[in-house]
Amino acid sequence: MEIYGYRVPAAAALLVWVVIWEIVGQFDLLLMFPPFSEVLASLPEVIGTASFAEAARITVVSYLSGLALAIVVGVGLGLLMGMVKRADQILNMWVNIFLSAPLSALVPVIMILFGMGSPTVVATVFMFAVWIIALDTRAGVLHASPSLIDMSRSFGASRGQRMKLILLSALPEILAGIRLGVVRGVKGVVIGQLLVSIIGVGALFSLYSQNFLMAHFWALILILFAFALSLAELINRLEARVEYYAGNRS
């Protein structure tokens, strides 16, 4: 199946849902669900508006900054936890708590700290993405072959050179963490903007729902899905390129 050039995997199952959606929509049973065809029809309209362009820009900018921050901090935190036992003992519990905590409940707190603008959204994306990246990086470091590290020591590698070796050894796990972080980050950016609701797609969502523009509302959701899936797919491709050695470590 193609949605504006994007190939959706597991297309068959999706198609069934689309058909059910279309039928339910045609019967006009629920106000929430306009027919799928109508949703598709409003896609170009949503994308065409100036407010969408502005919302998309803000969303992408805050998403990418939050994600970049999460990757830098997450990988750093994971390296620290994987390499320094003491740090791991202190941090491991907290990282795990944050990983499984209902983060949406924390967004209001973030809002108090960072105000009603983009910083809150950036912080939300960060909070959603960082922990899984840290934990996967930690796992990758702990998984690094001890004899490889002995090897670099035996040839007199400096601290920095050993770090580089560990980082490269952990790369498959780090990428797996980033891929999960990318998807969680999309959740973060949507939830953050919905709660702030005066900027980005959050503003659009409230605009559409307040004016009962359900077709537009769902079109926006479709776009967000496509965005998240394409990003995850991109990371997937990257992972496939380094995968050959993930399975080849001893």
Binding site: L148, M151, S154, F155, G156, L171
Partner: protein, 271 residues
């Protein structure tokens, strides 16, 4: 129990402890792991320049521990190792290690792996690759420079490990069961190549093995370790002429008798 009974084989004299040609001296080494596992107890040994010495003994007797202490990768609980007279405080450029599990970087080509020791020493790329190529050629891997470790067989991977150790031009090569992950045919070929390499490279080799045949076939001196705690049980000096046909050597009576002798000495520990 007699701790360091040196067997004189074929009339070879045992060198005194302070022999002038000892490149590595191991003195009073004790190693206790995590408080209660005594891996090594009072090891006193000399490794002579230009010789191939095997550390032989049953599993768990502390061979790897001793080799890693010599390499400077492990700290002894007590005692001292000296290389060329200087006490060992960590790894050093006079010693290079060949790992049992190869320890190759899976993301790097054969060429880059073989040159890793030079890379960490800051040797310029051109020279590093030139030297790596030379040793890749010497261990019989010419043509595989651009391959990745997962594209090679176990035997070939170990050759990369050997090339990497040779490339840094260390005086002493420390090898921890380098052939254990390799099939029998490859292993024999590898052993023959190692004998040939020794002639060219004139290095000191310390080889950990638990194959009696391998130890007898390759070494000038065999150190037998007893298990729990690891001590030097016996030192054997095979006098085998290795210049001839490898298959013929494996059939000589000296070779076969010595294997029987060592086995007789070792079986008390295994049973």
């Amino acid at each position: 129990m007699n701790m360091t009974s040196a067997t004189e084989h074929a009339g070879a004299p045992v060198a005194p402890a302070d022999a002038p040609d000892a490149i590595i001296e191991v003195e009073g080494i004790h190693k206790v792991y995590s408080g209660n596992v005594t891996a090594l107890e009072n090891i006193n040994l000399d490794f002579r320049r230009g010789e191939m010495t095997s550390l032989l003994g049953p599993s768990g007797c502390g061979k790897t521990t001793l080799l890693k202490i010599v390499a400077g990768l492990l700290k002894p609980t007590d005692g001292e190792v000296r290389v060329n007279g200087a006490p060992v405080k960590g790894p050093g450029p006079e010693r290079a290690f060949v790992f049992q599990d190869f320890a190759l970087m899976p993301w790097a080509t054969v060429l880059r792996n073989a040159g890793y020791g030079l890379e960490v020493r800051g040797v310029a790329k051109r020279e590093r690759e030139e030297r790596a190529r030379h040793y890749i050629n010497e261990v019989g891997l010419a043509g595989f420079e651009e391959k990745y470790p997962h594209e090679l067989s176990g035997g070939m991977r170990q050759r990369v490990g050997l090339a990497r150790a040779l490339a840094v031009d260390a005086d002493v090569l420390l090898m921890d069961e380098p052939f254990s992950a390799v099939d029998e045919q490859t292993r024999r070929k590898f052993q023959e190549d190692l004998i040939r390499l020794r002639e060219i490279e004139k290095k000191t080799f310390i080889l950990v093995t638990h194959s009696i045949e391998e130890a007898v076939y390759l070494s000038d001196r065999i150190v037998l370790l007893s298990p729990r705690p690891g001590r030097v049980a016996q030192i054997v000096t095979p006098e085998i002429d290795r210049s001839g046909d490898p298959e013929a050597i494996r059939r000589t009576t000296e070779y076969l008798d010595l294997i029987d002798d060592i086995w007789a000495g070792l079986r008390t520990y295994v049973e």
